[in-house]
Every structure is written in structure tokens, then in C-alpha cells.
Amino acid sequence: MLLTFALWAYVAGMAGALVLQRAERLANVLGFGLAALGGVCGVVFSVSSLAAGRAVTIAPVTLWSGPIPDVRLVVEADALSCFFVLIVSLVGLAISVFSLGYARTYYGRKNVGVLAAVFNALLLVTTLVFIAGNLWMFLIAWELMALLAYGMVSFEHEDREARQAGVLYFIMSHLDAACILLGFLMLAQAAGDFSFASLRGIGAKLSPQQRDAAFMLFVIGFGIKAGAVPLHIWLPVAHPVAPSNISALMSGVLIKTGIYGLVRVCFEFLGPPPMWWGASLLAAGTVSAVLGVLYALMEHDLKRLLAYHSIENIGIILMGIGAALMFLHTGHAVLASLALIAGLYHTINHAVFKALLFLGAGAVLHATHTRNMEEMGGLAKRMRWTSLFFLVGAVAISALPPLNGFVSEWLTYQSLLQGFGTTTSLVRLMFPLGGAMLALTGALAAACFVKAFGITFLAQPRSDHARNAHEASLPVLIGQGVLTAACVFLGLFPTAFLKLLDPLTQQLTGHQLSQQLTLANGLVLSDATAQGGTVSTLGITLMAVYLLPVPLALWAMFGRKARTRIAPTWDCGQRGLTPQMEYTATGFSKPLRMIFKALFRPRREVQREYDFSPYFATTLRFESHMEEVFQTRFYRPVNLWLLRLSRRLRALQAGSLQAYLIYVFITLVALLLFAS
């Protein structure tokens, strides 16, 4: 069977790369080659089984029975699993190909064998998370995933930043695992069994308080993994420091495990949701989306910027899921399916374009040896293909038509708008307001990617490294190309793709929407209700092609003889533009920083040295600093408080034997009093 084959390919890739770690070339080719092979198998498997509309693709199989009673590892795959397996396989495939070229940059410097092995292992355990059939399988794969990702975040551990990021990442991961564990155990308690099969609908057996508690635990747990605000602090720290192929995997796939978990739990296990579940998810999604993109705008570290965008997109996904839950509550199953499709569609979209962008960032990083956008520039000419791929990713993530980001956001908008009519309570205002915030997010994302692409790839190089940059190697480009193609496919052919989601919605909400969502000729995506609205990205694209003759004809009519001359950029007659005169990334986002000053609370320091007058400074030092409000207002105080408490407690062990004797003495006396 294909999936088994894929898993074995990962295992083989892992083992092979470890065994061959001394021969790095071989380890690279074998490790990432097998990972790519596994990816192909995974894609074929999941697409074929989704296309066949199978609800259950793998019946529960017990892989291993542990020594402890009830500890078993069971895998099973249903449509939901298949969908996420598709994501991990597709993205994994592209990243593997990319890595074949990218890992060369580590030759002689780091252990490529280990990198390839961990990469394979990550793909393996992530796939296992998605096809876990019971709690144990899920948790083990979950923890291993966190562990391996920790290893990769700390891969370049010589860097202090990477070490700290790794620690933060691992701690947060562990926290989420703890929450999830507790939530699952609460459910398992009611079911008396750990298998997912017996957990289905188990929420009905719990008291409302217990269900709410379990829901909260899951939201916190999966929310941390997904990187939802305010549980996101690890994400912008950890994703950038990992090797870029791993960043791509983390941002593209790993955080989706949180989404998978939420969907699995909320739609299958917890039973009929109360209104506030969906509403809180919708609200959390909105906040994540807006804050994620706002913080992204303030970044000039390319990978951190991308990491913050992951938060934003997770927010958008959560909006879809939250809306779906709200519709389930109000009894609009069709709408719930629509919102769910919107969320899931955005999930795969984000996986594809975020991975693409991280791969692009990786190629850039390799070429320029920096993540700082202020030292880039001019790469569009030096790295033509990379810039093209990155641009496609940027357009897609900014939710601009006709690419895939637009399609899923369109679905989200539609479900939000339709949601207004589902209830008469005040809650319904959340839908259009959420939509407006989504619009804000989209516009800010566009602004952010204008900055990201513009500052990185356009204009003059801002450093020697950027000046000497050259195009990445072929596998690196192919890897990006695969994802670019996926972006385009998902953008232009949503009707084809939506069919794959049918078994999924059938499983989770009992409805299949692809028939209703697509018109006869397969071009148009229309809403569940006939008049809701239509869009056809393919149509738009074709129309653009049809209309292209208009400007071309104008050109032919008027400007046949016009020639084109290359000249220096207009510099107002000065002695020429230097890169210092270009707009910087920081400068680009300055207006927004000013507008959202209350949120960002930027600190700036200007040191000016001058001889005669401050207007003629001899040296000028400008420093601008910004910290996340959650960091400064919540996480740091808590951390400090914990440390202070620990230091206080440390005084207990002050080294005095007398004190120690007193502890024992007091314990004894207290127990004696207690006993008698």
C-alpha cells in the first residue's frame, strides 16, 4: 500500500542518512531523495483515496501493543487524515527536492546526514500524527514531532539565538502537549478507551462544564501548536532560526497539526458545540490574523516576517473553523461545511505558499548570508526564478486573485457573510466584523509583502553580499517550482480540488458541497445558495489573457516605433543614487508603525553628535526597538515571577544542617499532631 510505502521510505531515508552521515553527499541524496519518494507516494495515496470519496481509507491497525495495559499504537486514516497527509506529503515532496540542493550549503560545516535523517523523521511523525488512531499514537507522534523540531530549531546551535529559540519552542510544545493530554484523558475517561473510534461524539457523555474545560484545554493546546495569538510567542522566535527547509516544513505543515487537532476534536469528539466555542475561535482567529500581520509588518528579518504571517494565516483558518462551529450550533450544517471547507482550503493553501516563501527565503538567505532585509535588494535581477516564485507566493499569501489565497479567503468571506442570517442574536455582528478584519488583514498582508518582496528583490542591492548573489541551484528551484505550480493549481482549479474535500465534509458535517459549489462547466465556484456570489479565478485569468491584446494592440497602434532606453534612476540631478538612499524595510512600515503606535509602543533612540549645530550632525545613530505586547505584558512578567519564586525557594536549601533538621522536626511534629 502506498502510504505504508511512503512511511517506509521515510524510515529508510532516516536510517540511510544516519548510516551514511560520514559521506555527506550520499546522505543528502539518499535522505532527501527517499523523502521525496515518500512525498510522492503520500500525495498519490491521499489524492487517490480522497478522489475516490472513501470515508475510511485505512481501518484501524494496531502497530504495537505496549507493556502497559491499554497502551497501543493504532493508526487509521479517514478523509480528514488523508487531507492532512496530502498537505504533509505535497509540501514534504517539494521541500525534499529543494533540500537536495539546499543541504549542499551545509557540506563540511554541519552534519547533513543528521539533517536529512531528522527531516525524514519529521515527515514520518507528522504523517503519523495525522493518521493516529488512538490517543497514544497521537501523543507519541506529537511529542516526537516537537522533539525533532526542537532538534532542528537548535540545528545551528552555535548561535545563542537558536539555542534560546529551541528552548522556548520546546517548552511551549510541551505545554501544549500537556493541555492536549489532559483534554484527551478527560474524554478517554468518559469513553473508557483510548481509541479515536470510541472517542467519536463522546462529548455528549460529559457534563457541560467538563466539555467546556476539555474544549478550553484543546484550544490552548492546539492553539499553541498552531501559533494562535496570544499563544504564539514561540513561533516568530523558532521558525526563523531553523534551517530554511525546516522552517518551511514547520510553518507549512507542523503548525497545521494544531488545526488538524482542533478540527478532529471539535467536529468529531466534543459533540454539539455551544455558541461560545465557535465565537471564541472566530474571535481568536480574528485577533491572530490582525496582530500576526501587524507584527509581521514591523519585521525586517525576512524569516521572522514570514513566521508572523503564519500566525496571521492560522488566524484566518481559525476564523473558518470557528464560523463552522457556530453554524453547527445554529443547525446550519451546509453553511458549516462551507466554513469548514474555507478553513481547510486555507490550511492547504497556507501550507503551500508559506512553504514556498520559506524556501524562497532560504534560497535568498543562502545567496546573501543574511536574514536582514535591509541588507538585501536587487535580487530580482540576480535570482530571476527565485524572485518569480517568491512573487507568486507573495501574491498568493496576500489573498490576491487569481491565486489560491484568494480562493480560500473568498470562501471565508462568503461563509462569514452567509452567517449573518443564521442567527438573530447579537453574535451575528461578529461575522461581518470578522470579515472586515479579514479585509484589514488582507490589505496589511499585501502591504507587508510589497515590503518583503520589494525590499528583498527589487531596487539596488544594499550590501556586497546581495550584490554578489547568484541564482540558486537547480533542485532548489525545482522545489520552489513544485510549490509554485501547486499555488497556481489550487488557485485556478479550485473546482477540481473541492471534489477532494467532499468525503471530508461528509465525514465531519454530513454534507458534500462540491456539487453545489461548482457550476456545470467547472469554472465557477458559487456559493451554497444559488445567489450567494460567484467567482472564477480561472475565468479571471483567462479574461486577463483575453484582454491582454488591448494594451498590446495599443502598443502596436501607437508605439510601434517607440524604443526603450536604459538610464540611471532619476536622482534629481544628484551624483547618483546609493543604496543608502533607498527606502528601507523599517522606513516602509513606518507609517503603519505610527498609526498603530498604541499597539507597537516603539522605542527609538537617536544619538546625534555635532560640531556646530544639531542640524549638521557628524555622526548619527538611530536605534528603534519594538517588543511584542504579549511578551512584555504577560510572558516576561510570568517568567520573572517564576524565577523570583524559585530563587526565594532556593533559600530553603541554604546549607544549614540545623535548618534541615528543623524541617524534618516540623514535619514530624505536624504529622504527629495530624495523626493523633
Partner: protein, 315 residues
């Protein structure tokens, strides 16, 4: 879906031809209101024609994005325009996308416009891009919310659908939600088309300019497409405003020639009326400081939110 070729062709031509005229008219009227004679309303055609014929000078730093952007700007504006009902209610490309697609396409155009501004490594371009993206970012939610208000009432995001349902008897044009949403949309229109008090289309001072700053490096054919695209975008937005909020006289699906004629007349009248309002606003206001603009746009947002709330209250 079947494309009505006549409708398609007609609207394409209307967009291409009407847009410069509208810009010219506004310029002319503005001049008139300043007691000048002003450029002729069709001056913009001349400008565009000249730019099309002229050679181009392209910055040595510019990449392929620079050359790609004008086509994108032009085509997206055109495509967006084809989704908005101008003279008869089913817009030619209505099935290809509703208001979300329109907004998306305009945003795509803006995206490339901003990139084109950044590409030649000039400080002006970067500044323009930065400001443009900033202002559009805060204008967009207000616009969306305003549109949502009407979309929710119409139960559709299809602009033709919205227009038709607005037209229907049950609809009251003076519904508070409607009026508030219109007010919000109007503010957004000013921002999106770079009008006073947000931007000054007539000057090129670096302290004020937003849109023009991005075009500084464009010349010849590209500049023509850019300018033309901008004017089409303005027309699209104005059409959106007049035909969605006041679809008086808008012809229905199988309208007769006479009805189309009436529709055209009504459309032009409404368009000119709206232009007049824009002109008056431009003439009687001073440009705002850049960091005051968010105040204006947040007012628009609040207006739109109020519109939404009143939908809730009065239903």
C-alpha cells in the same frame, strides 16, 4: 456561463473610453471651480496617446517586475470594471466574481503598482509605495464593511445581484444603513483614488504625494497604462458607488435598447453628479497631513460599522 459578447465588448469599450473622460471632466471642473478655463475634458486622451507613442526610459536598477506592473495595473482595473454593472445589471463578468473579486483585483493592481514604485531604487517610489499600501490597508476594511452591509441585505456578494435587489421595491434608498454605508464608501473612494484630502493628484511635492510618487520612474507606454489604469480604477469605484447604492435606472438582464439608453443616461448623470461632489470636496478641503488620514478612514470604518449595526437594529 455564457458571455454576452455585446455586453462584454460594450462595457470594455465604455470603461476604456469613459475613464479618461471622467478624469478629464473632474480636472476640468476643478479648474472651473478655481475660476480657470482648465484643460479640456478630453485632455487625458491626448496625454495617454502621447505617452503611448513616446519612447521609454527605464531605470538601470529596475527588474522585470517594473515592466510587468503596468500591464497588471491596467488589466486588473479593466477586469474589475467588467464585474461591476455599468449600464445593465448583469455585468459582463459577473459570474467571474463579485465585489470580493473586484476588491481583490484592484488590490492586485495596487500590489504591482507598489512594487513598480519600489523597483527603480528611488526613494520617492519607496515612499509612495509605503504610503499607498498603508492607506489602502486602512481603507480596505471600511470599504469591505460598507459593502458587506449592502451585501448582507441583498444576500449576495454579486454586484449585479446587489444592484438588482437594491432596485427592487422593498428597498428604501434612504435606509439609514444604506446612507451610512454610502458615506463610508465615499470616504474610501476619496482615499482609493488619491483625492484631496488624502492625496493631491495635481502636485508632485514629496510631502504630499502618494500615487504619483510610485509613477515617477515610468515613462512612455508604461506610464500611459498606469495612468489609464488609475483612471479606470476611479471609474470602477465610482460606478460601484453609484450603481450599487443608487441603481436608479439600471437596466435589467434582457433590457430593450430604449431601456439601455435610459440606463446609460441615468448612469452618466449619476456619475457626473458624483464627480461634481468629488470636485466640490476637493475644492473646499485642504489636504490632510499623512498621519491624520487614518482618522478620516477610521471615521469611515465607524460609519460602516454603524451602518451594519443599524441593519441589525432596524430589521
Amino acid at each position: 456561463m455564457n458571455l454576452d459578447p455585446l455586453n462584454f465588448l460594450g462595457q470594455t469599450l465604455a470603461l476604456l473610453l469613459l475613464a479618461p473622460l471622467l478624469s478629464g471632466c473632474i480636472k476640468n471642473w476643478k479648474a472651473k471651480l478655481q475660476n480657470r478655463r482648465g484643460p479640456r475634458p478630453w485632455q487625458v486622451y491626448f496625454d495617454i496617446a502621447k505617452f503611448l507613442r513616446k519612447d521609454m526610459v527605464i531605470s538601470e536598477h529596475a527588474s522585470w517586475v517594473f515592466s510587468f506592473a503596468p500591464y497588471v495595473v491596467f488589466l486588473t482595473a479593466l477586469l474589475a470594471g467588467l464585474m461591476v454593472p455599468m449600464i445593465n445589471a448583469p455585468a459582463p463578468l459577473r459570474l467571474f466574481g463579485g465585489v470580493l473579486a473586484v476588491v481583490g483585483l484592484l488590490a492586485l493592481g495596487r500590489f504591482f503598482l507598489a512594487l513598480g514604485g519600489l523597483d527603480p531604487a528611488s526613494a520617492f517610489g519607496g515612499m509612495g509605495s509605503s504610503r499607498e499600501m498603508t492607506i489602502s490597508a486602512i481603507a480596505e476594511p471600511a470599504m469591505m464593511l460598507a459593502i458587506f452591509t449592502v451585501a448582507i441585505t441583498a444576500g449576495s456578494t454579486d454586484l449585479s445581484q446587489i444592484a438588482q435587489s437594491t432596485q427592487s421595491a422593498t428597498w428604501k434608498l434612504l435606509n439609514p444603513a444604506h446612507v451610512l454605508a454610502f458615506a463610508a464608501m465615499f470616504v474610501v473612494l476619496l482615499a482609493e483614488t488619491g483625492r484631496i484630502p488624502v492625496d493631491n493628484p495635481a502636485t508632485h511635492l514629496e510631502l504630499t504625494m502618494i500615487h504619483e510618487a510610485m509613477l515617477l520612474e515610468y515613462s512612455g507606454r508604461y506610464l500611459a497604462f498606469m495612468e489609464w489604469g488609475a483612471s479606470i480604477k476611479q471609474l470602477v469605484l465610482m460606478t460601484l458607488l453609484v450603481n450599487v447604492f443608487f441603481p436608479v435606472g439600471l437596466a435589467g438582464p434582457q433590457a430593450s435598447v430604449a431601456a439601455l439608453g435610459i440606463s446609460l443616461a441615468a448612469y452618466l448623470a449619476k456619475l457626473l453628479a458624483l464627480s461634481a461632489v468629488v470636485v466640490v470636496v476637493e475644492t473646499t478641503n485642504a489636504k490632510m497631513r499623512l498621519f491624520r488620514v487614518p482618522d478620516l478612514l477610521s471615521t469611515a470604518f465607524v460609519l460602516a460599522a454603524l451602518a451594519l449595526l443599524s441593519t441589525f437594529l432596524f430589521q
